[in-house]
């Protein structure tokens, strides 16, 4: 086996700015699906609230193809279950999941 490095640590200096903070209302972008995604179909186009800023990392669409892109801020977004599933029986329950900055837009 060749000892060939195909990926290296991303440059920490080239970060995209974090646009959102906890409490902000955001909507998940509804981009086309092609080749790879970690953005669930059920969350696309749905609005939620930033529950927390987490860490900075590469975005899946770059990392999955070994592109050393810039780091982006990740967020935990909280949705009302009722907004995700119309038939959901309770108004109070929420679902939290995680997205990088570029998959979100301000509401």
């Amino acid at each position: 086996m060749k000892d060939k490095k195909t990926s290296k640590a991303p440059e920490k200096t080239d970060n995209a700015p974090a646009r959102f903070k906890a409490g902000d209302r955001v909507r998940v972008k509804d981009l086309p699906n092609m080749f790879y995604s970690r953005t669930q179909m059920y969350a696309r186009g749905v609005s939620g609230t930033i529950a927390a800023r987490t860490y900075q990392d590469l975005i899946p669409e770059d990392e999955a193809f070994n592109r050393d892109g810039r780091l982006e801020q990740y967020y935990i977004v909280r949705f009302r279950q009722k907004d995700l599933w119309e038939e959901y029986p309770s108004e109070k329950d929420t679902l939290q999941t995680e997205f990088p900055d570029r998959w979100l837009e301000p509401v």
Partner: protein, 140 residues
């Protein structure tokens, strides 16, 4: 597969894997956009899909599964791929039929082999001959 009866049986199994929506011609230039979106849907995005209740079972990993896991991790430590590329290959690139049909770690080792061939770390003939050699060792 030297027996002709085995060959026919194998064609029948392949036939049973045909997609549910099967257009027998290959000149269907127009497909509805909802069908196109379904074709482009990443197989691992299973949330929200209907399913039947499943029996939860506790099961220890088998040795080949542990070996697969370690092999894939070592390939990562050596910089040959990263975890996201592994997911892309094992959860997406293999397509619905394999995604739904193969065991969990079967998808991992399929992805590792495909990646090593894609990146020219092993040639396909090298891989095929090795598999045949190991197989004959086990059949002896």
């Amino acid at each position: 597969m030297s027996l002709r009866s085995e060959l026919r049986q194998q064609y029948d199994i392949i036939g049973s894997l045909q997609p549910a929506t099967h257009v027998p011609q290959n000149w269907n230039y127009e497909i509805p956009s909802s069908l196109y979106r379904a074709y482009m849907h990443p197989p691992h995005d299973v949330g929200g899909q209907r399913d039947v209740p499943l029996q939860y079972e506790e099961k220890e990993e088998e040795q080949w599964e542990l070996n697969t896991y370690v092999t894939c991790e070592v390939l990562g430590w050596r910089g040959i791929w990263n975890a996201e590329e592994r997911r892309r290959r094992a959860d997406n690139d293999l397509g619905y039929t394999l995604y739904l049909g193969m065991p969990y770690y079967g998808r991992w080792i399929w992805a590792a082999a495909r990646m090593l061939v894609d990146k020219n770390h092993v040639s396909l003939t090298e891989l095929l001959e090795k598999i045949a050699e190991v197989k004959s060792r086990h059949e002896r």
